[in-house]
Symmetry: C2
Subunit: 170 residues, 2 copies
Amino acid sequence: MDVMEAIRTRRSIRNYQHRDVEEEKLRRVLEAGRLAPSARNMQEWKFLVVKDPSVRKRLAEAAKGQMFVADAPVVIVACGTICDYVMSCGQLSYPIDVAIAVDHMTLVAVEEGLGTCWLGAFYEDKVKEILGIPEKIRVVQMLALGYPEHVPEPRARKPFDEVVIFERWQ
Amino acid sequence: MDVMEAIRTRRSIRNYQHRDVEEEKLRRVLEAGRLAPSARNMQEWKFLVVKDPSVRKRLAEAAKGQMFVADAPVVIVACGTICDYVMSCGQLSYPIDVAIAVDHMTLVAVEEGLGTCWLGAFYEDKVKEILGIPEKIRVVQMLALGYPEHVPEPRARKPFDEVVIFERWQ
């Protein structure tokens, strides 16, 4: 599938089929994250893959009760492992680098016929407790993954000329 | 081009041909960013496209003298516009959302035969001064864009089993 087609057809999927994700598909999704670029090639990330239904249920509760997280056959918990490196532009590297890796995953998932949903609404301390994640590690985002049951319509985007400007701020 | 192929062949390009990027290709790259998902669909971003050679030269100086930034025919300055929204996971949304949008752009660029380089090494205050960017706006990353003159070998990545873990932290 073309990259642009994957970008155009990707949706945030909040309804999943009761169907496992094949091992080789899951591996390709994770591989897409592994290959992502990062500041100084630090690869300051770990991807914790949760399939256990009882653990997914606890993660759904930690995600403020978004129960579709329990229905998704896979939840990828994307963690930053070096969380104090600030680039000279003033930004911490790890949220950006983990986001790049997870974005790679979301687009390969589309190519594999799978759906994903980025999750930023969760209590990090609860997620860490459930999964035994050490204090110095940060959970940046979680990603629900599975076969879509319902694919929603695209959401509105701002017009091109509102988000793209040329040569100087205006 | 398949998404996975774009991911596998993407490199950080630091040598560019003296050749303009066609308008329709540039537009597709920017469109890929425009279509990206964001927290609460806020789309809290603006993409400032710089082609003026004298301005690119000043941006290269602000990027700690990385002069290939001046050689790239296009520099996309990716800005966060709502910079105080914290998701319940504890992360600011704008660095993550802008990174997602720029990652989309890097992969469509590969599909278009173009090269990119993420830039996090720059003095934000200087970039903002050069481009007249208001104080409350943050420059998250810059992206050099153009036809590659030299495509480097892939850089090493950590083994799969080092970055992917299953069910529980280990």
